[in-house]
């Protein structure tokens, strides 16, 4: 479609930076410099995003519950989470005498690194993506489920009974829900014929998959939402921390900044699954287009692609928050029943249906 060409391509910007650097230094140095640069940008983005998501969640749930939410620190309480972060930084790191010290200290880093790695492959805007792997979907799924190792280690090494139960629940949960997430993403991979995230976005230039893919795509979107909510341990699937049962689950024994790591990782994970969902089902940074309304489509194109991406992502984030603040928590056996008796079979059938649709060329 011709209109897509008007969208600003970030690769021109990154390309020119790259060229400028090449004029300055040797290729080896350039690579190092770029790695450091990208790393720093991501770190800053990561921290700010985490803080903002915590704030957002508190605001959203507050309004749902007829409250104001944070409104004391800074305008509209925007600085509240920063104040909380400073508080967490200054808190004492309580050492657990009988804990397995090495693993105990390692666990928060594993969790946070896993979420950090997943964010690398996210296409934020046209041409703005740290690494565009040709197996992007696969990579994101693989990396984001690494976090469970950290959770298991945290629960095991804390040497606390509550933590252990929480960690074991989390293990069972993530291992099973990983399947549904994979299968629901696979549906779109079948549609678009590529695993590359940028390719999937490009394939939605003439309409998002959730619209193009008929009902099966919608079903897999719902399955994706449910399963990924479970995968990131959020309510109503927050069994790993189930505060009314296990006080705080796997991070009961953590304090200060180590606790903050878990906390931050949880929110970043929420962002990541929302970003993946938005990219794969809702067209990523693609603007919203309606058929042949050229004028309308043109106006939509003027909204920067970055804005589109964040709009969609935060829409999904909002959905996930909406779930959490409405539903009661499931029990562990019901959680597994839901996966193995409902989500799994449905997504398998769904894939078959989709394969059939693609084979017959019925999708738009």
């Amino acid at each position: 479609m011709s209109s897509t060409s008007t969208i600003y391509d970030f690769s021109t910007l990154t390309g020119s930076i790259d060229a400028a650097l090449h004029n300055w230094m040797s290729p080896g140095l350039v690579l190092t410099a770029e790695l450091v640069l990208v790393g720093l940008i991501f770190l800053t983005f990561y921290a700010l995003l985490g803080l903002f998501l915590v704030y957002l969640e508190r605001k959203v749930c507050a309004v749902m519950q007829n409250r104001y939410g944070p409104n004391r620190v800074g305008p509209l309480g925007l600085l509240q989470t920063i104040a909380d972060l400073i508080k967490l930084l200054m808190k004492e790191l309580i050492p657990i005498r009988k804990a397995d010290q090495f693993l105990f200290n390692l666990a928060p880093f594993i969790v946070i690194i896993a979420s950090f790695m997943a964010i690398a492959a996210t296409p934020f805007a046209k041409g703005l993506q740290a690494v565009d792997l040709n197996i992007g979907v696969f990579y994101v799924m693989a990396v984001s489920s690494l976090g469970v190792v950290g959770i298991l280690l945290a629960g095991w090494s804390s040497n606390s009974k509550y933590s252990l139960i929480g960690a074991m629940r989390s293990g069972a949960q993530i291992v099973s829900y990983e399947l549904s997430v994979g299968l629901s993403l696979l549906a779109i991979v079948v549609f678009s014929g590529t695993m590359q995230l940028s390719g999937i976005v490009e394939s939605q230039a003439d309409g998002w998959w959730i619209f193009k893919g008929h009902i099966p795509a919608f079903i897999s979107f719902v399955i994706f939402l449910v399963a990924s909510t479970a995968e990131i341990n959020r309510g109503p699937f927050d069994l790993a921390e189930a505060e009314s049962e296990l006080t705080a689950g796997f991070h009961t024994e953590y304090s200060g900044i180590k606790f903050a790591f878990f906390f931050l990782a949880e929110y970043i994970n929420m962002f990541i699954v929302a970003a993946i969902g938005a990219t794969v089902f809702l067209g990523g940074w693609m603007p919203f287009h309606i058929g042949n309304w050229e004028a309308f489509n043109h106006v939509m194109d003027f909204i920067p692609s970055m804005v589109w991406f964040f709009l969609k992502t935060f829409f999904v984030v909002y959905l996930i928050m909406w779930f959490k603040w409405t539903f009661p928590r499931l029990r562990i056996d019901q959680l597994l029943t839901l996966e193995w008796k409902y989500l799994m079979p449905i997504s398998l059938i769904n894939i078959v249906v989709i394969a059939f649709i693609v084979l017959m060329g019925w999708h738009f």
Binding site: V60, V63, M64, Q65, N66, R67, Y68, N71, W322, F323, W325, T326, F327, Y342
Partner: protein, 160 residues
């Protein structure tokens, strides 16, 4: 076939029940006008406690710095947890007889359970409930108050 039909119906019923709940929270999300929280320190000027609110025990004084407490000690006796101590003095009055007057009406806010018995049983209606509720202090001793103001005296009322 019937089983599959039930399976699908079950799923739809489940989703519709979940949607019903989400409608409720969603409804409140889009109507922030329904927020019930009061912005407390900001609304201090307009915040008015109910007239019967039991904030603390006070002894109302009139413009001549006079109260009505005779120092009879009934409130002290009726208080279930010893929150009130009455210290009296004996002074000669105009007729030359010694008379008991109140020296200090000591009230321990920290122990008071606001049962209202002292206010109710005081024979001369000398006590009342105050609307003050911001009682936080840094020193527990500050919660012990002397209710009759210094230099105050007993209001002599014409006997009806």
């Amino acid at each position: 076939m019937n089983m599959i039909f039930n399976y699908i119906r079950e799923i739809f019923r489940a989703i519709s029940s979940l949607w019903a709940g989400m409608r409720i929270t969603g409804k409140y999300f889009v109507s922030p006008g329904q927020i019930v929280t009061q912005k407390y320190p900001e609304n201090r000027a307009t915040l008015k406690m109910q007239e019967r609110f039991k904030g603390e025990i006070i002894m109302p004084h009139d413009e001549n710095n006079q109260h009505r407490c005779t120092g009879c000690g009934i409130c002290e006796m009726n208080c279930p947890n010893g929150s009130i101590e009455i210290l009296t003095n004996r002074v000669p009055n105009a007729d030359g007889k010694t008379e008991r007057i109140i020296d200090k009406h000591i009230y321990h806010l920290s122990m008071c359970t606001f049962c209202g018995l002292c206010v109710k049983t005081c024979p001369s209606d000398a006590l009342a409930f105050g609307q003050e509720f911001e009682h936080a202090v840094f020193d527990r001793k500050k919660l012990t108050k002397v209710l009759n103001q210094p230099g105050s005296s007993l209001k002599k009322e014409a006997k009806q």
